[in-house]
């Protein structure tokens, strides 16, 4: 909706014309995407409300009602102890976020280089990849006892488990990213006189970046996933810990609060990874924009 008919509009004309700038807040509110998203949420929450309170479906008999959860989460004096007005709530969030941050940062700083070398050097891959592929399919929960035995502190086993899941995903995706690079880029770089380490910096790393960031998005997801699993098994704080103790203490609305919080924070962290990726891959964004995606 741009007034581009007049090539040189006067200041007055520009003032009078009602235009919705692309990317402005107003444009976002009026976009059909937001509207559809709202409809989706309303349908989902509506079903929850009806299933529990109106239809009283047997499967949902123990499920806390939408109203109960909303009042609980917004209450300054929550019945079961956790709401947005309680400091303890934020302590749990902070504990979980800190663990994910450490685990994800470690997994990325170790997983990306490992994946790059796996993809780049055939010899290195022949040494490392079979071991890697043996360890990768082991479910994270199977690592729990070993993690507890290996690390004596309370924090370390939880972080280790979240790290492990994240690490495998990142390394594997990075390796696939290197393999996805067209051979002609390597040849072109060689023709243009690049030495091996220059090929690594100028072709391997940037060429694998799109895959690396796809991997990091999955990686942050599994990082949360395994963190919560670990917190449920052994933990003193954290969102997984809340969910598990609320279950044993029959504080069902608090379970839902923990879950919703996880969903929300998980979405935020994933969006952050995506934003960093977009920043680092201007070329890719412009290419995709032109191809109409």
């Amino acid at each position: 909706m741009k007034n581009s008919n007049d090539s040189n509009p006067t200041a007055k004309q520009r003032q009078l014309s009602f235009e919705i700038r692309e990317g402005s807040l107003l444009a976002k509110i009026l976009s059909p995407r937001l509207f559809l998203m709202l409809v989706g949420f309303i349908l989902f929450l509506g079903f929850w409300h009806l299933a529990v309170e109106v239809w009283r479906l047997p499967r949902f008999a123990q499920m806390p009602a939408l109203r109960t959860v909303v009042t609980e989460i917004l209450s300054p004096n929550p019945t079961y102890g956790i709401s947005i007005f309680v400091g303890e709530y934020y302590q749990h969030i902070l504990a979980s976020c800190l663990r994910v941050f450490i685990a994800f940062a470690l997994a990325t700083t170790l997983g990306v280089p490992l994946g790059l070398f796996l993809g780049w050097s055939t010899k290195f891959r022949e040494y490392v990849f079979p071991v890697f592929e043996m360890l990768r399919p082991i479910p994270i929960l199977a690592w729990v006892p070993l993690a507890i035995v290996m690390f004596t502190s309370l924090e370390a086993p939880v972080i280790f488990l979240a790290f492990l899941a994240s690490f495998f995903v990142t390394a594997l995706n990075t390796m696939l990213g290197v393999e996805s690079i067209d051979e002609s880029y390597f040849r072109a770089a060689k023709c243009l006189g690049a030495k091996d380490y220059q090929v690594f910096w100028n072709v391997v790393i940037p060429g694998a970046t799109p895959f690396i960031f796809t991997g990091l998005q999955i990686s942050i997801g599994v990082c949360w996933f395994s963190l919560v699993a670990a917190e449920m098994v052994s933990g003193q704080f954290g969102l997984g810990y809340i969910i598990n103790t609320s279950y044993t203490n029959v504080r069902y609305p608090t379970i839902i609060i923990g879950m919703v919080t996880l969903g929300f924070i998980g979405y935020l962290t994933s969006a952050m990874v995506r934003a960093v990726g977009k920043r680092l891959m201007q070329w890719r964004m412009r290419e995709l924009a032109l191809s109409g995606n």
Partner: protein, 283 residues
Amino acid sequence: MNESIKANPNMGRGQISIDNVVKIYDPDGAAVMAVDHCSLEIAAGEICMIVGPSGCGKTTLLNAIAGFHSINSGSITMDGQMLCGPGKPQATPGSDRIVVFQNGALFPWKNVLDNMMFGPVMAGKMGIKEIKEKAFSMMADAGLSGTENNFPGELSSGVRRRVEIVRALMNDPSVLLLDEPYRALDSLTKSVMHEALLDIYYKNKVTIFFITHDLQEALFLGNKVAIMTSRPCKPKKVLTVDIPYPRSYRVVTDQRFRDLMEETSELVHEEAKKSFAAGEREG
């Protein structure tokens, strides 16, 4: 030959002798002879067109010169130096022989300027400022000014090809190896690209080794045209196109051009039929 080509500062560079080269692929025990005792002389500063049906083994020859593949016997020398031959089955890739790839190989993650500067920066013989100046002047010469901040993905395929050729020329190569660079372009863009390539050639006087399956393209651009047999690949007929440069697109309607077309199209067609009968795939 045209005067401007005689006054070539690069003259004497980029003379290539291909002598009895044999290349056998052995993917799964079944040896396939891709190139069979192929010999070809390319003079310095010449545009040599290699014509043959898709998959006949032309690219194998190019890969051997560029150093991407080894050869089984024979030798290839450039300006008297052996690139590959007895005792050295594979040439070392280097910026004296730069390939322009079939599907293009501009780095999509670098903008046009950084792509241009890549070779000289890798060589490290010039300062960054000098390299930048050279890039800008070469882009201006090729009519590419204003594209320096674009990423390759934002350019049309015709412009991308031109950028890739200029990126190669930034390194003052002795020979440009072009592997069907205009294959994916429509015929109108193609004829514009042909004139642009010749224009670059007049200015830079570099030896050009150009692979194509398009006979008209070969006769229009080349001063030497080698028509290759279908796999195994070797020259069936080598002819000189005695139409002086500079050539404009109108050349194709000249009597001499049509005579040459007539003389050669039968030969090419025969090979294409053979290749088709053998079920060769693209590539």
